[in-house]
């Protein structure tokens, strides 16, 4: 019987199949698949033919490069654009450092951003030279700070402080001060889209956590107020809340106090996403096993300490993918502020189309804007899939 243990190692039969075998297995495996394939081919032929002729012979693409600046920053004054550039540079440095220090996911996100920078640098169309210059500098900054940040764990704390300060500094930087201050009315394009989305998700976070805790509170008053807020806001469309922000906020403010239009939109977006954030966080809180609370109490921690040091860290970790998903949704939803006459990425199309030179070029403009949104959201959902895999969410 001993000889049986010496069975020879045999390689599995090659799983690579010839192209014909592949076609047969994947397209013509039986009669109805064959019919479906043929229909699909005919459909795709006409679709591609139509799209091809429109894109390459009929569409007038000149509108895009001519308005690239408006699309990216709106009517931000040209001579003040260095402010935007500085914000981008500082962001690039912070990203590069984080990627170097923490590796893992940061690395992937950062390399994705660096790729976008590199693409802009190499874009074949005619873009403003200063834009190209800024993209080159940003890409290089990412690379340099990445190399610098590797194996410098002692920088960790400074980078975290940097990220925290980044946000107020960015607002201050973009707005300027004194007589040269740039009114938020001039903020626009992709810049405004990104600012609104980031502000919305960052500012809603503390409110969302409080609401989630409130919903689980022992005090009926707090619990019912939280539930009412969450359910009412989630039951309403975002447009109505944006209009409330622009029509009702002024009613509640002292007579002469004028709130900036962009700030009103920010408040509305924050209050809106707080309700959704609360539900996400609640999901995370529910996922923390009872034993964790009991163990924390057994050690003698008070309720606030149990929450801050034991429960919330675990809960928030498990809801990161949901929060990324919410950010993607919010990024798309910022397009609604164009309805209340703000010029974010979608809103600027009205400004451009208002120019008699570009009237009638709606399809071209919309398609370009759609592609920009698509690239951002698709990239973000790709990242969120990696996050999910990293955290092992959904694995039992």
């Amino acid at each position: 019987m001993e000889e049986l243990t010496f069975t020879q190692e045999i390689k599995p039969p090659s799983t690579k199949k010839g192209p014909i075998r592949w076609l047969k297995d994947n397209l013509f495996s039986n009669w109805y698949n064959t019919v479906l394939t043929l229909f699909a081919i005919v459909f795709l032929y006409f679709l591609f033919k139509g799209v091809y002729t429109w894109v390459f012979t009929q569409a007038k693409w000149a509108v895009i490069p001519a308005n690239l600046q408006i699309l990216s920053v709106g009517s931000y004054p040209r001579e003040q654009l260095w402010r935007v550039a500085y914000v981008v540079y500082v962001l690039a440095i912070l990203m590069g450092l984080s990627a170097g220090i923490w590796k893992g996911l940061n690395q992937q996100i950062t390399s994705a951003v660096a790729c976008i920078g590199a693409v802009i640098t190499l874009l074949p169309i005619h873009v403003n030279t200063s834009v190209r210059e800024a993209a080159v500098i940003a890409t290089i900054l990412i690379a340099v700070s990445y190399v610098f940040g590797r194996d410098r764990q002692n920088l960790k704390r400074w980078v975290i402080i940097g990220w925290v300060l980044m946000f107020p500094w960015m607002m201050f930087m973009l707005r300027g001060f004194g007589e040269n201050a740039i009114s938020t009315i001039n903020w626009g394009g992709l810049l405004l889209t990104l600012i609104l989305a980031v502000v919305g998700i960052v500012a809603c976070f503390p409110i969302g956590v409080l609401l989630a805790l409130g919903r689980r509170s022992q005090l009926p008053a707090i619990r019912w107020i939280s539930i009412a807020y969450i359910e009412v806001v989630r039951g309403m469309p975002l447009v109505t809340i944006l209009f409330m922000g622009s029509l009702m906020l002024p009613i509640f403010m002292p007579g002469d106090f004028q709130l900036d239009k962009v700030v009103r939109a920010m408040i509305a977006l924050t209050l809106f996403s707080a309700a959704y954030m609360a539900e996400n966080v609640r999901g995370g809180l529910q996922a923390v096993p009872r034993g964790q609370y009991e163990a924390a109490q057994a050690v003698g921690l008070s309720y606030p300490k149990t929450m801050t040091f034991i429960v919330l860290p675990q809960a928030l970790r498990s809801v990161i993918p949901a929060i990324v998903g919410q950010f993607i949704a919010l990024f798309k939803d910022t397009s609604l502020v164009s309805i209340i006459a703000l010029s974010e990425l979608l809103g600027v199309s009205d400004n451009i189309l208002g120019n008699p030179k570009w009237t009638g070029l709606k399809p071209e403009l919309y398609l370009f804007i759609a592609v920009v949104y698509f690239i951002f959201t698709f990239a973000m959902s790709y990242v969120s899939q990696i996050v999910e895999a990293d955290l092992g969410v959904g694995k039992h």
Partner: protein
């Protein structure tokens, strides 16, 4: 803090001269609504708001039906064994999920506005007409013969019920021993199933005979026809309605496709294996074992997609479709009654979402019977 806001509000309101009251609803609206229920500018604000509510429901319900059909098709297609079909479905889902809905609606609206003028309308089989005023579809209308035919239908139902009762009586006489073994409800359903071969033809014969015996044709297809400068007859959907409907349908169907796909994939592998081991074909495995178990997994996220669609219909305001929010917005502009009108809008949406979640809870309770 609340007191601070309240006092600001009261002083602000008295400055504008708008006491909080709902009496303005009885006033004449003074604006036109060409969408949905007939509305005259001399009608009240209350009726205007109601027309808006009905318009929201109209576009939402139609959108939900279309999005469900499309979503199921693409969701199942994503799991097809055919690579091409699978890829087309995946591309469809990714494109329409990752572009903002508002942009999509504006895009469809631009397309409907570029449809030909009325004189150059596109007609399909002489019954469907497409032009810059939207789409015209044929309808069915009743003639003077309709009431007579309805009586025939009613007596047909009566006869069919008599046939079922006779059948049940006969079965009781023939095999009275067997009935005691099986339980009563299954006897009732078995009887109706068995009797359908006799009852259905009886009903059909009465219905068809009645059709010819009634004076004139009871029902008639009304085609849209060109009269002067416009089409008359049939139903008309405006370009605004079409753009909103198509946008909502396509966007939501991409999400529903994902819900359907993950629901089907959530059915555990052992279930398919057991079904195959019994000898069912792949189609039977899907229809008899996988989909019935996927449905309870699919329904909760599906319901929240329906709610999203209803809420997203408020984007109507961007293309000038007069849904409940847009009508409310106009009423605010004319009356200045910001707070009461926002209250009405809020309550309308809340009623929609509460009824939907009540349905969900009821459904969940019903299906948990055979949960693992």
């Amino acid at each position: 803090m609340a007191g601070f806001f309240y006092s600001n509000m009261m002083s602000g309101l008295s400055d504008q001269g708008h006491p909080l009251s709902l009496s303005f609803l009885r006033n004449e609206a003074g604006f036109e609504i060409t969408e949905g229920i007939d509305f005259d500018p001399s009608d009240t604000y209350l009726k205007a708001f109601w027309v808006g509510v009905v318009n929201t429901l109209r576009v939402s319900i139609l959108g939900i039906i279309c999005a469900t059909v499309l979503g199921f098709i693409f969701g199942v297609a994503r799991l097809s064994t055919n690579w091409l079909i699978r890829s087309i479905a995946a591309v469809y889902v990714e494109i329409f999920r990752n572009v903002p809905l508002l942009l999509q609606i504006l895009f469809w609206y631009a397309i409907t506005l570029s449809l030909p003028r009325i004189q150059d309308s596109i007609t399909i089989a002489d019954t469907i007409i497409l032009n810059v005023r939207g789409i015209y579809l044929p309808t069915i209308a009743g003639n003077e013969g309709l009431p007579v035919w309805l009586w025939y239908l009613l007596s047909g139902v009566g006869l069919a019920i008599i046939v079922v009762l006779c059948y049940a009586g006969l079965r009781l006489l023939i095999d009275s021993t067997e009935v005691q073994q099986t339980d009563r409800p299954s006897f009732a359903s078995n009887t109706i199933l068995g009797a359908k071969w006799f009852a259905a033809p009886v009903f059909l014969i009465v219905a068809i005979a009645g059709w010819f015996l009634s004076p004139g044709q009871p029902l008639q297809i009304v085609r849209p026809e060109l009269q002067g400068f416009n089409y008359v007859g049939g139903i008309n959907f405006t370009p605004e309605f079409l753009a909103l409907l198509v946008g909502l349908t396509v966007y939501t169907s991409a999400y529903i496709a994902e819900v359907v796909r993950s629901g089907i994939q959530a059915v555990v592998k052992g279930q398919r294996e057991a079904a195959r081991a019994v000898g069912l074909t792949e189609t039977q495995v899907l229809l008899l074992v996988v989909i019935p178990q996927a449905i309870p997994i699919i329904v909760p996220p599906l319901t929240s997609q329906y709610l999203n669609l209803a809420k997203n219909s408020s984007l109507a305001i961007a293309i000038g479709f007069l849904d409940l929010f847009h009508v409310g917005r106009r009423m605010i502009a004319q009356t200045g009654q910001t707070i009461p009108i926002f209250g009405m809008i809020m309550v309308s949406y809340l009623i929609m979402s509460l009824t939907t979640s009540a349905f969900m809870n009821w459904y969940n309770r019903r299906i948990t019977r055979f949960e693992r």
